[in-house]
Amino acid sequence: MSNRAELLDLAAGLFLLCAVAILWRRDVRAQTAWLSGQGIALAAIAAILGAQDARPDLYGVAAGVALLRAALLPTLVRRAIAARAEDRESAPLINVGASLLAAVALVLLAYTVAQPLVRLEDTPAARALPVGLSVVLIGLLILVTRRKALSQIVGFLLLDNGITAVAFLAAAGVPLLVEFGVSFDLLLAVLVLRVLTARMRNLFGGSDLDEMRELRD
């Protein structure tokens, strides 16, 4: 096996490890640190794919991803936490142990459903596809099971990282423009959510989603 494929595997492994760590930790600040790590791993995946297919544009994408996912977005989330200390704990709906066991099931599920795709095209990138899929599912799990709006943002970012990874691995990279378009949408979304949570906090004194149910009318 080539050196590059091994590096790709390693980056994919790190990518998955970061997702698990985000699920594992309760402290949102620690989660953002892992999110940065994941952004770096994602950028590494893009760069390795670029080197493999000799596509310089992917280097650009990698740089963009690194800037945005590893630095900008986590910093935004961290700023949002800095304002209020009590939101640091992610307050999961089901206990962390159970959600970790659920993640075991999800990863195995991702692995099972990705098998036909892997068989279709047996490249190192395709074989790493279940990793991306797993991260998407774990992101969704966090979105579903976490109570605080901030940890929902983390879950959202995780989900998007997963989708991006799937895009890289399955289609060997998306056009530069599309990637940046998506990324800026994401940035916008995070900013909006941040502003919203800040305002909610000022109005209601907390961002517990269960307590927001009354806001629907």
Binding site: E6, D9, G13, V96, A114, V118, A128
Partner: protein
């Protein structure tokens, strides 16, 4: 005596003599980071020798379990030290050096000490035993699943075989399966050796104790054996971890010169890992007892991922 047997004996001797020094170095580093000077690397040995010279006591109402658990602890760690390829893959136990058997042997020592804690009939002894057994029970799935990930590729749970296979492929230790399994086992090693964030080895408050609470009743030579056993356990587990994930320096022969190199590598790696743990402990607080299962569930998840990753990645 054949060379592999000598290698094993050397490993046992090394762990026996070196374990207290490792603990001393870790305490020293921690003291320095806290602005103190600390007791020096040799202090644990001084403590041990003093304890051995003290008068042995027989606490009323304790029985054989209490009396023999410390010795069993040292014996189990010693046998593990003989089995794990710390210096060379040619250890004297050959096929007996099985990863599962070594893990089970260390569990046996834990169970014996827990029985000793219960045997004292004191509240603290029972409390420590209960907590220790809870943690051990929950750590087991992560260990064996990680073992599964490591063994699946080599096709054997034999330790020298696993280490030799890793050594023969230069870049193998960095595969994603190994990476995930390494993190999983690292958490387990922390839990099994009673380090932060699972247990605080330097606590004086009985209600927060896990391992310490079981041994409150020991004194003199018995306590020396308990402490020596704990130190050897730490060294052996760190050695096992480094043999599995950073096997550099371990020879596949019994050549004396290479063994010396292996010795230096072993000392360096173990010291580095020990110092990492000690330094980490300065920054960390103990987690609540009922969050420990979360920690171990995460470790189990990583181990399962390691197994899956060994299939879908590389």
């Amino acid at each position: 005596m054949s060379a592999p047997v000598l290698v094993s004996l050397a490993q046992v001797l090394l762990v026996l003599l070196g374990a207290p020094l490792l603990v001393g170095a870790m305490r020293r580093l921690r003291a320095r980071m806290e602005g103190r000077t600390g007791g020096g690397v040799l202090q644990p040995w001084r403590d041990l020798l003093k304890l051995l010279r003290k008068a042995p006591l027989h606490p009323q109402g304790t029985g054989a379990a209490f009396r023999f658990a410390p010795l069993l602890g040292v014996a189990c760690s010693g046998v593990a030290a003989a089995a794990i390829p710390l210096l060379s893959t040619r250890t004297g136990l050959g096929a007996g050096a099985d990863l599962i058997a070594v893990v089970a042997l260390l569990t046996l020592a834990t169970a014996a000490l827990a029985l000793a804690g219960l045997d004292t009939a004191t509240a603290f002894g029972g409390m420590g035993a209960s907590r220790e057994m809870t943690i051990t029970a929950l750590a087991e799935p992560a260990v064996l699943t990680a073992v599964c990930a490591l063994a699946a590729k080599v096709g054997s749970t034999n330790l020298p075989a696993i280490v030799a296979a890793t050594l023969s492929h230069g870049a193998r230790p960095a595969s994603p399966a190994n990476l995930l399994a390494a993190v999983a086992l690292a958490v387990v090693v922390l839990a099994e050796t009673g380090r932060l964030p699972v247990d605080n080895p330097s606590t004086h408050l009985e209600l927060t104790m896990v391992h310490e609470a079981m041994v409150l009743e020991y004194s003199g030579p018995d306590l020396a054996m308990v402490e020596l056993g704990a130190a050897m356990r730490l060294t052996v587990l760190l050695g096992l971890w480094s043999a599995l994930f950073a096997p550099w320096g371990i020879t596949t022969t019994a050549d004396p010169a290479r063994l010396l190199l292996g010795l230096a590598a072993f000392a360096g790696k173990t010291l580095l890992l020990g110092c990492l743990i000690a330094a980490g402990e300065v920054f960390m607080a103990k987690v609540r007892l009922f969050r420990v299962p979360e920690l171990l569930a995460g470790s189990f998840l990583l181990a399962v991922l390691a197994v899956s990753a060994s299939f879908f990645l590389a």
